[in-house]
């Protein structure tokens, strides 16, 4: 058995994982990152739009400060965020952007003079000051009071990830790519590392570490239609949940992005709307101002996605062989803008749709995009339940996003949280020693090997892994989409429990040798159904509407009963997660109130309790 020892094991080598790795390596610790793909192919590279940070350099960002960024974030979260964390984030973001500039990110910069910009399809003028020449520029995004999203054209994720991976290479961080974690190794209360499977040879490899970080991104691929990369299947979430002691937070909070293209669900950036793009219906009518007169296309993502669905339900969608969709119109931004600042969008339209966005409308519909929920951590990024286990980025429920995150806040979170959590990991490493009992390691490896052997031999049955996955997709689609209701959720939970039984009876059709892709999916399929159950069961229990979680049968945001975070754990052999709740925030710097967009009734915290 190949065994590696290291100070810090990062599961995931995207932006959050590598930012933590850089912090630890910079402090002199040894770091190994595990990644399903070469580090630079991580899903972070797909983020187009940018990173929010209150630098206040540009004309439309004048007067911006962390306090306003904090307020936008908390409102965006529909008061589901941990406000201490949201503040830590907003305050650290500007420094982190400057650090990235120092490391080599080619941020777009302020160009003095009068510039035209578009809002709601109409041109306006703004003047950038000479004194700000060459400072980091920002663009508009939804749900923000100021232009705050720092960007490198529309390849921000790509540029920042390459810069970060350069930095990691410079500091000697090792990346073991094509390596998939299948379980965590832990004793009573301590995380000791992980068992992984090589996606080159199929062999099991043991990693023993004094600290383990999960930074594996979201789990959007439990949905059929998702903007997520195909690697975002929740493998590391499953490993955490399967410890039985690490809770996942707010799994029912799933974000749908307004502009996935039809039919492939590839995302076109919110920067399109930020830069002045509009949404049109089948009559080419711009409908968003009818619903949201103030913010229109620039309300938060949950609101825009909901309004789009609402409008299509009224028969205003454009019919297509792939179902109804709406149009995104960026034609008025002009060829120069589209071919430079929205270049990825241009390429996506040309390559995948065969249309030119300078001349044509883009077919879009809301699509699963982001997982606000994840491995619950405290404000230091330390996971609940196991000492020595940390999480950062989308995989974590550090919880600055609550029930809806704002565009540009997740890419910023990867590096900001990575920096903060990375420092906390360094503190942890300085003050901790662990011993690695060989018995526990052997036990875990044996268990994993037995699972693999059983799948290859078909010991528990011969269910087809792809059929099981399709069945799970079907349930999530009708039960846990943008609009939810008690009847569908209840039926969905029941069906998922049956699918979970089937997932435990999967058998391979192939020999399972080497980097066999069928085995990789079969190994995590039961876990993926468990994640789906955490989402669906959590949504069934939460009898209110908050952010992205919309219950048709409970349309009010209910602060009286639900100003809380769901924690889901899974005991071995159970058929449902065990749900408990904690307060959404330890402090309320910004008391729960109206977001200023999205409408909806609020049941206040101090409302009289009704008899249930």
């Amino acid at each position: 058995m190949l065994t590696f020892y290291t100070d810090l094991l990062c599961i995931g080598a995207g932006l959050a994982g590598e930012r933590c790795a850089v912090e630890a390596a910079g402090a002199g610790f040894e770091v190994v990152c595990l990644s399903l793909v070469p580090a630079r192919r991580s899903h972070s590279c797909c983020a187009q739009g940018g990173m929010q940070a209150a630098l206040g350099n540009c004309a439309m960002g004048e007067g911006d400060c962390p306090d306003i960024h904090f307020q936008d974030t908390v409102k965006g979260s529909d008061w589901g965020a941990d406000q201490e964390v949201a503040w830590l984030f907003a305050e650290a973001a500007p420094v982190e952007m400057r650090r990235l500039a120092h490391w080599g990110v080619p941020w777009n910069r302020v160009e003095p003079g009068v510039h035209t910009y578009y809002k709601g399809g109409k041109p306006f003028e703004k003047e950038e000051l000479e004194e700000n020449r060459g400072l980091i520029h920002a663009r508009a995004f939804g749900g923000t009071a100021k232009w705050r999203t720092c960007y490198a054209s529309d390849g921000t994720g790509h540029s920042v990830l390459y810069t970060m991976d350069n930095r990691a290479a410079q500091l000697g961080v090792q990346v073991h790519d094509r390596t998939e974690v299948i379980s965590l190794i832990h004793d009573d209360g301590n995380c000791l590392g992980a068992v992984a499977r090589s996606l080159r040879t199929g062999e099991l490899v043991v990693y023993m570490a004094r600290a383990t970080l999960i930074a594996s991104g979201g789990f959007g691929r439990i949905y059929r239609n998702s903007t997520n990369a195909v690697i975002n299947d929740g493998g590391a979430h499953i490993a955490a949940l399967d410890t039985g002691v690490v809770p996942l937070g707010n799994m029912e909070a799933v974000q749908f992005h307004p502009t996935g293209i039809v039919p492939t669900d590839i995302l076109v950036t919110e920067g399109c709307r930020g830069d002045g793009g509009t949404l049109l219906d089948k009559d080419l009518h711009r409908f968003m101002p009818d619903y949201e007169p103030e913010k229109a296309e620039l309300a938060s993502r949950d609101v825009v996605s909901r309004r789009m669905t609402e409008h299509m339900r009224k028969g205003k969608g454009v019919p297509s062989p792939y179902g109804d969709h709406l149009w995104l119109d960026i034609r008025h931004l002009g060829e120069k803008h589209i071919r430079t600042k929205l270049r990825e969008v241009d390429e996506i339209c040309q390559y995948f749709l065969g249309i030119d966005p300078v001349k044509s409308l883009i077919p879009v519909r809301p699509t699963q995009h982001y997982s606000m929920g994840g491995i619950r951590t405290n404000k230091d990024g330390a996971a609940y339940g196991l000492s020595g286990l940390f999480s950062a980025g989308e995989s974590a429920c550090w919880d600055m996003h609550g029930f809806n995150r704002l565009g540009g806040n997740s890419l910023a979170e990867t590096v900001v949280a990575g920096g903060i959590v990375g420092k906390k990991i360094v503190e942890f490493l300085k003050g901790s020693e662990v011993s690695f009992p060989t018995g526990i390691v052997r036990e875990q490896v044996t268990k994993d090997r037995e699972r693999i052997d059983a799948l290859i031999k078909g010991e528990h049955g011969h269910e087809n892994v792809y059929d099981v996955r399709e069945a799970m997709f079907d349930v999530l689609e009708y039960a846990a989409g943008i609009y939810r209701n008690g009847d569908d959720l209840e039926r969905g939970v029941g069906e998922l429990q049956e699918i979970h039984e089937r997932a435990n009876r999967i058998g391979l059709k192939t020999n399972g040798l080497g980097a066999n892709p069928e085995l990789a999916l079969a190994l995590k399929m039961p876990g993926m159904v468990r994640l789906a159950l955490c989402v669906t069961y959590g949504a069934l229990m939460r009898t209110e509407s908050r952010g992205s979680h919309t219950r048709e049968d409970y349309p009010e945001r209910n602060d009286r009963d639900w100003l809380s975070r769901t924690l889901a754990t899974w005991k071995e052999g159970a058929s449902l997660p065990n749900l408990t709740y904690e307060d959404a925030s330890p402090v309320y710097t910004l008391p729960p109130g109206d977001r200023g967009y999205g409408g909806g009734k609020i049941i206040p915290r101090d409302a009289a309790k009704e008899d249930k």
């Binding site: 630079r40 400057r98 777009n108 910069r109 195909v230 792809y466 192939t510 080497g514 980097a515």
Partner: protein, 250 residues
């Protein structure tokens, strides 16, 4: 529409002692807007679950899915079947080590490449978290970004005649990377230091000028411009003159 497509796909699992390299044939009904991403997943899910291939973002930005499609290296995710005849032959990228079937190990090669070119900003300025960011002209930032757009898919080296003959050739991707740092005022390396890395047969002098790298680059990077610029700059640096300005810069 409604064509029947025949895929001839290279198969070999090096971890299976009973396997030998061979071609397999799969037949599939074409559907509207079908890409190789859709086709290969359908083949795996409906016909042969052991088929190995790599996709990640499936949106043309991560570079995972490069393979040789009817003789030409390209990204499979944005390859539409409608643009091809009904017979499609898929081979793994040459040059890189085979993992299995259509899957190759680009990660190891690229990691070694960027260690060789020291693909990071070299500076002795310490970051000061209390200071405003160093200023940069937007045109310069845009010029850096243009060369920073490489997605390390490997198409350029897979299509490169020199790379096929000498394994230590850095390839267009590495030369482009060096050009990116030369454009970047934050990188304090001298011209001589850059040419210490690329001023040899593994670098700018190895290229035979066949131009395939630029032809197949899915991001349409100006790879040959950069090679030409680097060669001229190397020559002028060698005789002690200041090199020309990168054509990328305003």
């Amino acid at each position: 529409m409604a064509r029947t497509l025949t895929f001839h796909i290279f198969r070999y699992n090096p971890q299976d002692a009973d396997d030998a390299p061979h071609m397999d044939t799969f037949v599939l009904d074409e559907t509207e807007s079908m890409t190789l991403f859709i086709a290969l997943n359908r083949i795996r899910e409906e016909q042969d679950a052991s088929l190995q291939f790599d996709f990640c973002c499936r949106a043309g930005v991560c570079g995972s899915c490069a393979m040789v499609v009817n003789g030409r290296p390209t990204l499979a995710c944005h390859t539409k079947t409608a643009d091809y005849p009904a017979e499609i032959t898929l081979l793994p990228l040459p040059f890189f080590k085979l993992v299995g079937d259509l899957s190759v190990d680009t990660g190891t090669w690229f990691r070694e490449m960027y260690q060789r070119v020291e693909s990071w900003i070299h500076t002795d300025i310490e970051f000061d978290s209390n200071e405003q960011e160093a200023r940069m002209e937007n045109d310069v930032a845009n010029a850096i970004y243009e060369l920073d757009r490489c997605i390390e898919c490997g198409c350029c080296v897979a299509a490169c005649g020199t790379a096929r003959m000498r394994q230590d050739f850095l390839g267009a991707v590495a030369l482009n990377r060096i050009a990116r740092f030369i454009v970047d005022p934050r990188d304090k390396r001298s011209d001589a230091e850059y040419f210490h890395i690329i001023g040899n047969d593994q670098g700018i002098f190895g290229c035979m000028g066949l131009l395939a790298c630029e032809d197949v680059c899915p991001k349409e990077l100006p790879l040959q411009d950069q090679l030409g610029y680097l060669r001229r700059k190397a020559a002028l640096t060698a005789i002690g003159r200041k090199g020309p300005k990168n054509p990328q810069l305003p």
